[in-house]
């Protein structure tokens, strides 16, 4: 039995994404005011329309694993950012920044993703901000050990 994290979310600041949106749905189910970072192993990168989905296994504190699901933009947009169907392969270790589902299930909207080789890609859509400015801010936060914007905001 996998454990589902209940995410406690707090409003931090309203972040508007500048990313072009390829969306056939509203993003109201994502809490775009909260950003979190987690690391896991790629189970599948579904480079599909109308939206891509990245599925990763994240190890819990008790050693069990939870499958997390993250929605990204559509392939026609992602190819212009250098993201294709082989960008994330099963077994890869990735660090994902995401805006969580409001209901606390293990999923969210993709922001940026750090690959095994340390490079970053931006597969985000309108549900979370994976842009360059956001990434630069997060680089500073990660150096300080933060894993959520809530944590960073409360501390700084």
């Amino acid at each position: 039995m996998k454990r589902v994290f209940n995410l406690s979310v707090t409003l931090v600041t309203a972040l508007l994404t500048a990313t072009v949106v390829y969306a056939h749905h509203s993003f109201s189910q994502f809490d775009r005011d909260v950003e979190m970072v987690t690391t896991g192993t790629v189970q599948r990168w579904a480079f599909n329309n109308p939206h891509s989905w990245l599925y990763i296994n994240v190890e819990n504190e008790d050693g069990s694993e939870t499958l997390w699901s993250f929605e990204g933009s559509a392939p026609p947009s992602l190819v212009t950012r250098g993201v294709v169907g082989s960008t994330f392969e099963p077994g890869d270790t990735v660090k994902v920044m995401f805006c969580p589902l409001r209901d606390g299930r293990p999923g969210g909207a993709l922001g940026w993703v750090q690959l095994d080789d340390g490079s970053f890609v931006n597969p985000s859509d309108g549900g979370c901000n994976g842009g360059d400015a956001n990434l630069e801010r997060w680089k500073g936060w990660m150096e300080k050990g933060y894993t959520s914007s809530t944590q960073a905001s409360a501390t700084e």
Binding site: V21, H25, S28, Y55, L67, P76
Partner: protein, 315 residues
């Protein structure tokens, strides 16, 4: 640029590419779309007869490059503006104000009819992102949207037909060439909308369009569509707008080739009991595994993920 997040500003509907988009209303207001189209046909002396050699070529992939449709319905300064009164009929204005309230108060309209896999339909076809292709032949034009692979057909020099006895997502479109300009008339449409944050349209929605490829300094090419929308149920009077497309250079340079897809097999979003968009995740009832196996998993070669052959397990 493509249609952007509707929480920033109307000015982000692609107006950053090339000169500002300018809506050019027809020379007079027509009572019906039929009268408008007949007037343009008469002005063009019945239209230009093109051959396969002379018909305008709009080759390649195109992206949406902005439009002014929201200007007709919302006052400046854009997404913080108010719904303009008197443009929509009372019933449609009330309905739209609720949609706009969600947009302004929540930053999102909570649900989009495309979420349960309705086609974009018309007029939304004109601004949905993903790529478009425009194939002009002397007798017919084909307008293709990568979004759920919609195809809109324009029958050149013909009369409207409706053998199905109902309306459809792209209706029936006839047209003629006026030199290098394609003039179209669309009728028999199903109720739809401009976008999820824009007004709804009725089953009496019709349009007259003038398509033209324009060139601007610095090598900018833009396919521009001057449109007049008619809707006896939704509009107090006809609404004018311009839509634009630009070459999808970035996608073409990346080697993008549209693939056929449909929403039903690949989308796990749905309308929940709170009236909000939600998702089914792997392991949950109703989850559709777009890269899973077919109805015949016992047979070899039945996975839809033939390269990586992944499975999603959450137990």
């Amino acid at each position: 640029m493509l249609a952007a997040v509707p929480a920033v500003s109307l000015a982000q509907f692609g107006r950053g590419y090339g000169p500002p988009l300018v809506t050019i209303p027809p020379p007079m207001q027509f009572a019906t779309s039929e009268a408008h189209y007949a007037y343009l046909l008469e002005q063009a002396d019945g239209g230009t007869t093109h051959t396969i050699e002379s018909v305008p070529k709009w080759y390649g992939l195109w992206n949406t490059a902005g439009n002014t449709s929201m200007d007709a319905f919302v006052d400046a300064p854009g997404f913080s503006g108010k719904v303009r009164e008197g443009v929509l009929t009372p019933e449609y204005e009330v309905a739209y104000k609720e949609r706009w309230r969600e947009q302004q108060e929540l930053g999102q309209v909570k649900y989009d009819r495309l979420t349960h896999c309705e086609p974009a339909g018309y007029p939304r076809f004109l601004l949905e992102p993903y790529t478009h292709e425009f194939i002009n032949m002397p007798h017919q034009s084909y307008q293709i949207n990568d979004f759920a692979n919609s195809i809109r057909r324009v029958y050149i020099g013909q009369e409207h037909k409706n053998l199905y006895g109902t309306h459809s997502w792209y209706g029936d479109t006839v047209g003629f060439w006026d030199g290098d300009r394609l003039v179209t008339h669309t009728v028999d449409l199903l109720p739809a909308d401009f976008t999820r944050w824009a007004p709804m349209t009725s089953n009496q929605f019709e349009s007259v369009e003038v398509w033209e490829l324009k060139s601007y300094p610095d090598g900018i090419e833009r396919l521009e569509v001057q449109v007049t929308f008619y809707d006896s149920f939704a509009f107090e009077k006809p609404v004018n707008a311009i839509y634009a497309f630009r070459h999808a250079t970035a996608q073409e340079e990346a080697g993008h080739r549209p693939q056929h897809w449909e929403c039903e097999l690949t989308s796990n979003s749905y309308l929940d009991e709170d009236g909000t968009t939600n998702f089914r995740l792997p392991g949950e009832e109703g989850y559709k595994d777009a890269r899973g196996s077919t109805l015949f998993p016992e047979l070899p070669g039945q996975t839809r993920d033939p390269i990586y052959n992944t499975t999603l397990t959450n137990d």
